[in-house]
Symmetry: C2
Subunit: 335 residues, 2 copies
């Protein structure tokens, strides 16, 4: 990305092993993230041309001398933050705050090849190279599925609970899927777009609410005996969406927020009297990868459906455009 | 309280049963709360002369026709919010957000007698009238002990964890006691006042940190291998104390905040990347009362030590002054 709205596909040197804990993978697929739209829309600064992309799945080509858990030829998925998976923070399940974490986005996963640091702690391999039709689902596990899943876990989704989901992008939709898998009794998807409503219903939504803001909150209250939802997933990251999530949650309920916060200020007094639990942040996808990849491998879940447009990597700019204009929910790029 | 700094003891009509669910109690003791200092210091508006006080323990004098669980002659403790203890929110343990909640502070517990609404759902009786020396501890259960306890529970204090406590008022000190009772391995009290440090150590603090703000956070990191505490109790309610609590918590850790928020705005991006769990609000003291009263009855805990000044109710103004100037941690008033 050269500037807001200006995405170009250019030749760059192939990534190489630079540390003995690195791996280099050949991407089977990559994609454009909702968070990539923040700089694309000028809502986040870009300092000169920046490699983009942080979602990846592919075949290991080479590993450093110290890598022991993955080997060339294996199909692997990793998260946007590389982690050692051994420090106290990782062991507590917060690999995206690993004391040795490194972003993989710096080198850009919207590419043919990617160097992944801390390969042993970051990458998870499938039993065998998967069938081609499963690739989109495994790619989804790299971020949007893991993020929606974390949001549902952070929102303490459990059997019998009513869950509301704020945001109908890929993460929100996969939050619906996660809520269903975690046993939610009722799942209210807040969406005003027909194609996304349809997918939300496929993924397990039991109710749709098209209203937003105060009206949206009032509808959630109507649907929950005036109390609010037990669990609310926030998957947008704006002031409005955060307040909508907090206000739609009953006292003692849980908000799981994973939309990357932009210009959000939470009023302490309202939060205090809301009595909600608040938890979120950059999803520790690595915590969930073995379980999620197992569910995909056995075709129990189909998160790849969020990719409703597939383009060759060369057409990345068209992919950004389609997501920016909401023509596509999420764009898969084939290197 | 007639105005900031202006507290007077005046004659008012005795409270009476106004609803069949009410009880009237004769107070054995009442007290001044840290939160009473907000209006006293002009940091919260007062609309004309206002009855003050919301902490109470005493003997039931009269009950309404529908009250079944307490009866005249019993010694009872209740919380600052009356609750039905039967609605979905109460059953989830959030009695201070009960759908029928009523503040008892409106009539003022700094008095000889108090009408308590929803007596069945609010009051808890002791097996017999307790010995006089236990009265201060039972009075503490009405708010500051229950609030410190809730903060520790909200901060997920568990055996083996390191807990930091921001705030050395009565609530913070009883947060230390709660952390010890809940099995914390290490309890770091942040305090710069000798008398409070001493009580913190008696209540189970293993470390004292006198620094505040960024320096205080740095000390907590030093004491925890650079990671931060697992659990942090926030018992002040200012912007500085909230940020200190959030920054002193390790990723994946828990902040339990019970200081009544005043002019607090939490920056969404910092909260997002902090990876902390945030929970708090007005403590649902009623959830904990049976357990806490049992511990006091059997003399396993001595929360009444936070009262380091006792005055007759007539001298309430002196009590406010002593707390405002920090001459006293907490002032007990004898009606």
């Amino acid at each position: 990305m050269y500037a807001p709205g200006d995405v170009r596909v250019v030749d760059r040197p192939d990534p190489r092993i630079t540390k003995p804990t690195d791996a280099v993978i050949r991407l089977s697929a990559t994609c454009v993230c909702g968070s990539d739209l923040w700089p694309y829309r000028g809502a986040e600064p870009i300092n000169g041309p920046s490699p983009m992309g942080h979602e990846y799945a592919g075949i290991v080509e080479e590993v450093g001398a110290e890598v022991t858990t993955v080997k060339p030829g294996q199909f692997v998925v990793g998260s946007f933050f590389a982690s050692d998976n051994t420090c106290a923070i990782c062991r507590a399940g917060y690999q995206s705050s690993c004391v040795h974490r490194e972003g993989v986005g710096g080198e850009g996963a919207q590419a043919q090849r990617l160097r992944v640091p801390l390969a042993d702690g970051t990458l998870v391999a499938t039993p065998q190279v998967p069938d081609a039709d499963l690739i989109p689902s495994f790619l989804a596990a790299s971020d949007v599925l893991g993020t929606g899943w974390f949001a549902a876990v952070a929102a303490q989704v459990r059997p019998g609970k009513t869950v509301a989901v704020v945001g109908d992008g890929a993460v929100g939709l996969l939050g619906v899927l996660a809520a269903r898998e975690l046993g939610a009794e009722r799942i209210i998807a807040m969406s005003r777009h027909g194609d996304r409503q349809k997918l939300a219903l496929e993924y397990g939504a039991t109710d749709l609410v098209a209203e937003r803001g105060a009206d949206g909150v009032a509808r959630i209250k109507d649907l929950t005996g005036g109390l609010g939802a037990h669990s609310v997933i926030e998957a947008v990251g704006t002031q409005e969406s955060m307040m909508q999530a907090i206000r739609a949650t009953r006292p003692g309920g849980h908000v799981g927020y994973v939309g990357v916060a932009h210009d959000v200020q939470l009023p302490g007094d309202e939060l205090f009297f809301s009595h909600v639990h608040l938890h979120g942040g950059p999803a520790p996808v690595r915590r969930f990868l073995p379980d999620l990849m197992d569910r995909i491998w056995h075709r129990r879940i189909d998160p790849g459906k969020v990719f409703d447009l597939e383009l060759p990597l060369e057409r990345a700019a068209d992919g950004y455009r389609a997501m920016d204009t909401r023509e596509a929910i999420k764009v898969l790029l084939r290197p």
